[in-house]
Amino acid sequence: MLHILEIIIPSAIFFAAPLIFTALGGVFSERSGVVNIGLEGLMVTGAFTGIVFNLTFADQFGEFTPWLAMLVAMVVASIFSLMHAVAAISLRADQVVSGVAINFLALGLSLFLVKMWYGKGQTDQVQVGFDKIDIPILSKIPILGPILFSNGYIPSYLAIVLAFVVWYVIYKTPFGLRLRAVGEHPMAADTMGINVAKMRYIAVMLSGALAGIGGSIYATIISRDFSHATISGQGFMALAAMIFGKWHPLGAMGAALFFGFAQSLSIVGQAIPFLKNVPTVYLLILPYALTILALTGFIGRADAPKALGTPYVKGKR
């Protein structure tokens, strides 16, 4: 049994990491009142940028390449998210619609560029990826060490740390208080001298940045190249994780880990004796079915930020 956990948990964590980053981005955006269905597209942007940068500059930067690629993906995706911000905040667009547009655009544009630059439908494979590590000291803890702290990727651990950072920012700092105020009651925030549009722009760009990281580490660690299928639904899963986690950073992290676990179980499950005879389809649909059940069962009603989805127009009631 322990051995099985040693197999399932590390893979659950690496599945979850990109979702955690992206879902945390979603928390920022939606806490400020801007729906972000475009997370999928922002992940695509991050994955594309990360891979292209890695392929282009691997020779110059060697071992640092994936890290730099991650940062560049973060910047590019956050610039890309500006489109959503402009539409949703300044142009009063329907936020869901604008997010859908972001998804279409990111995929279309990145594949277009791949075809233009590489002359084919997918990039080459990157040569330099993130390293697997055993965390010093912690990995030596009996039982827990091998399960939680061995055989992991550094970005995965960063994701978990980041969730706590985001929690601190949102619940303990003035920035967080203002962010939440803007998402709950933008007019109240406005009358308190908070620049609603600015807060929302920052939040949306943060979501772009984090989804960009999520996309780039996903592509670098898992697929190693970029194609139409690299990001296929992870953004939506991150969105689900965010909602499942009740728009709370730690909740989102927990939900992402849960998805990662279910995903991992669905794959590894085939190798576990008592699950071996279960038809694969049950294991495949497990994460999705469990999510629905969980939403229905324990947290029936997730209360979204009140102003979520409504553009703020000064002076309108």
């Binding site: 303990k172 700092t173 003035p174 208080l177 203002r178 939440r180 105020a181 709950e184 009651h185 007019m187 109240a188 925030a189 406005d190 009358t191 308190m192 001298g193 908070i194 009140k306 000064k314 002076g315 009631r317």
Partner: protein
């Protein structure tokens, strides 16, 4: 110069609509200055200009003699101007303290110093007699308490000029009295106040001077001591207004609504209506007086089927209707003017026309075999718009675009037109101006005179005293007294509503 604020010839235009047309308002230090006008006269707009939410299209603003440009609420805050908005600007999920410090949070490291903030809020609330619990969530406290938080917000920022936009519209009589005391205390501390209200009595009671505006134009400024309610009302509306609605003695018929031993729980599962008895007869208006939160909302929602009741009996013309569906109850003959017109009364994104058949769309002539008959629907809508003086460009206009008063008239038209035996009116005039109030009161009395039973729920004692034939006082979910409006006083009612004096409960009526 003795003026702390001077708004000179302020002009504000929305599209083609002139909301403020060269309005001048001057505020003296230490005075309470009323701003009076009908719904839509432009009062909130003018104050939003002063607070920096809108930029004026003309005129100038001086603060303590100095010309200023109030580009946003931050500038207003810096100039010592604070505003308590007509619709509260509070974040429900935040605590009192969080709401107060929002935007100027005390910090320790990069973190909010919440302890210091709570301490400051506590000190401030003690100093001005504004009792609040700094740690309570806004969603959990009463409206009156919420208003104190709004006032504290301005004080926390060191405002010495306070704008109150219709602060009393949402308060109970007790809370209004408390607010008046608070305002007086504030003025004693050297603050100056601009007060927007439709209630002339309040103006007479606390204000020093009053500026009247009508349809965006300034009519003038008067000393309160030199005027009277009738003059003010006439100035505001532009014609004579009758406060006491004329009515004949009631011709009381058989009982229409009989409630016995009714128990209703609220959304949190707490008993809100507690073994209540009440009877309303044909041809009479029964007013329910009570402080907000004593079970009025639950009582009405139980009668109309919006929520389920626990036990007891509700009979309409002798037929048991308790826990039937809203549709069945409507069809039995109940009309309902809901308390919250935006939430319950209208589908704001439907045209006025479609709103007029909200409960009857499935019946002939509005539809036949499941197919709507738009001609019949819009014919009816035109008729009601005409009859109830609903001011709207046409019947295809979305309900959202109408002013509150006109939305209310549309609802009343719809409910009355269905010709129900029992008409329930909950807060039918909340936030409306005197002209609209007069109109609505007349309609209610007209229904009574046609032999309908009318149940009126209101926090406005004036309204209750004025319109009702009998007053039932509700306290903690029970009817604690039934009184005759001609034989009672506001003081007595106030005491009954506070639960301090019990009369024989009106089972016998």
């Amino acid at each position: 110069m003795e003026y702390v604020i001077e708004m000179l010839n302020i002009r504000k235009v929305f599209g083609n609509f002139v909301a403020n047309d060269n309005i001048t308002l001057q505020l003296k230090k230490g005075e309470i200055h009323a701003l009076l006008g009908e719904n839509g006269a432009g009062k909130s707009t003018l104050m939003n200009v002063l607070f920096g939410l809108y930029q004026p299209d003309g005129g100038e603003i001086r603060v303590k003699g100095k010309k200023v440009n109030i580009a946003n609420p931050n500038v207003a805050n810096d100039l010592g101007i604070g505003m308590v908005h007509q619709h509260f600007m509070l974040v429900d999920t935040f605590t009192v303290t969080e709401n107060i410090i929002l935007g100027s949070e005390p910090k320790k490291g990069g973190q909010i110093d919440i302890e210091r903030a709570e301490k400051e809020v506590r000190e401030l609330s003690e100093r001005y007699g504004l009792a609040v619990d700094p740690k309570a969530k806004i969603a959990d406290i009463s409206v009156g308490m919420q208003q104190r938080v709004e006032i504290l917000k301005t004080l926390y920022r060191g405002a010495d000029i306070l704008i109150f936009d219709e602060p009393t519209a949402v308060l109970t009589p007790q809370e209004i009295q408390e607010l008046i005391q608070i305002m007086k205390a504030l003025v004693r501390e050297g603050k100056s106040i601009i007060l927007i209200t439709h209630k002339l009595k309040e103006i007479m009671e606390v204000c020093d001077r009053v500026t009247v505006i009508r349809r965006g134009k300034g009519i003038g400024t008067l000393n309160v001591s030199e005027t009277n309610p009738n003059e003010l009302a006439a100035l505001m509306v532009g014609r004579e207004v009758h406060f006491k609605t004329e009515k004949q003695p009631p011709k009381v018929g058989k009982p229409v609504l009989e409630i016995e031993d009714l128990v209703v729980k609220d959304s949190r599962g707490i008993t809100a209506v507690d073994h209540l008895h009440l009877t309303v007869h044909a041809g009479e208006i029964v007013g329910i007086a009570g402080v907000d939160g004593n079970g009025q909302t639950e009582l009405i929602e139980a009668i109309t089927g919006l929520i389920k009741s626990e036990s007891g009996s509700i009979r309409l013309n002798g037929k048991e209707i308790r826990n039937l569906t809203p549709r069945q109850i409507t069809e039995t003959g109940v009309g309902h003017i809901p308390q919250d017109r935006h939430k319950h009364g209208l589908v704001l994104d439907f045209p006025i026309g479609e709103n007029m058949v909200l409960q009857t769309y499935y019946k002939e002539p509005y539809s036949k075999r499941g197919i709507l008959n738009f001609k019949a629907i819009y014919d009816k809508a035109r008729q009601l718009i005409q009859e109830f003086d609903v001011r709207t460009p046409d019947e295809y206009t979305k309900a959202r675009a109408l002013s509150g008063g006109n939305q209310q008239k549309a609802i009343i038209g719809r409910e009355v037109d269905r010709d129900p035996d029992l008409l329930i009116a909950a807060q039918p005039t909340r936030g409306l101006d005197v002209g609209a109030i007069e109109f609505i009161h007349k309609r209610l009395i007209e229904q009574r005179d046609k032999g309908k039973a009318v149940l009126l729920v209101s926090f406005e004692l004036d309204e209750i005293m004025n319109v009702s034939d009998r007053i039932a006082v509700i306290y903690e979910g029970k009817i604690v007294a039934i009184v005759d409006p001609k034989e009672t006083t506001e003081q007595e009612l106030g005491l009954l509503m506070a639960g301090s004096k019990r009369k024989e409960a009106g089972v016998s009526s």
